[in-house]
Amino acid sequence: MTRLRRQPLLALLALLAILPVLHGCPGAYNPFKQAVTAEQKAYALYGTYSIFTKKMADLVETGTLPSNVSLGLIEAESRATPVVNKLSEALDQAVEIAAEVAAGRTSQEKYAIAITNLNKWITEADPLIRNVVDAYKGAKR
């Protein structure tokens, strides 16, 4: 029972590694802070996520974690990845439309719509991560 109670805490701790990137981490460690455009911000989020899910997989595969902790981490990744993949699709679309605009094959309005959509997914991912921070702080109290 104790293990079950601590599982969410550990899962959140692991995911917390992602959070300094976005909130309060020095700029040198914060890809998001280095980005200027929506495309760069989306790429920064996506790349950061990839780094930490890889670390998460490495950690789970060591076999040193209790099974319920590993399953908690895997569950957290399973919930986040669909949102991150939508962000990736919106990024691809925005970059491709930007190229078409540059080639004169499509309108600036279409690019504006793609950027609006991209910003929507960036905004979608951000509160998801903030919720993890709040839940972690609540669990600590």
């Binding site: 980005a35 996506y46 780094i51 997989a57 595969e61 060591t62 895997i74 990024l91």
Partner: protein, 130 residues
């Protein structure tokens, strides 16, 4: 001593105190679970630290991209997508192994111990350099 080492040493020391009755700790089931938890926390912090180094390199890459005023190109996006997909696949495979009651360590990953042979096992082939 860097802050990371200090944190890990602190966690390890707390674990030692909790486990040792001579140092004022106990050996109850609850205490052993706390020690277990501290070990996991240490591992998570260490992994987090390793992640930070990769993160620093990636942040520098994004900064260069921003300085150049360009968007991420196809190969950069594909590389990230491949890594996300690979991690997802590995985690799902680990989940299946765990749910089957097996170790999450993937097949083909040798453990740290040297290979041994039993009395009835055939001898290990000799490794020759070409």
């Amino acid at each position: 001593m860097d802050p990371l080492s200090l944190i890990l040493l602190s966690l390890s020391s707390i674990g030692t105190i909790i486990q040792n009755p001579v140092l004022g700790g106990g050996s109850s089931h609850k205490a052993s679970e706390i020690v277990d938890l501290l070990a996991v926390l240490s591992a998570l912090i260490l992994k987090g630290h390793e992640g930070m180094e990769e993160l620093k390199a990636f942040a520098a890459h994004v900064k260069t991209m921003a300085d150049d005023g360009r968007a991420p190109n196809r190969s950069e996006r594909d590389a990230v997508a491949a890594q996300v997909a690979d991690s997802h696949r590995r985690l799902q495979q680990a989940k299946e192994r765990i749910l089957r009651g097996e170790s999450p360590i993937p097949d083909g990953i040798p453990d740290d111990s040297p290979p041994t042979t039993g009395p009835d096992d055939p001898p290990l082939p000799e490794v020759t350099e070409e």
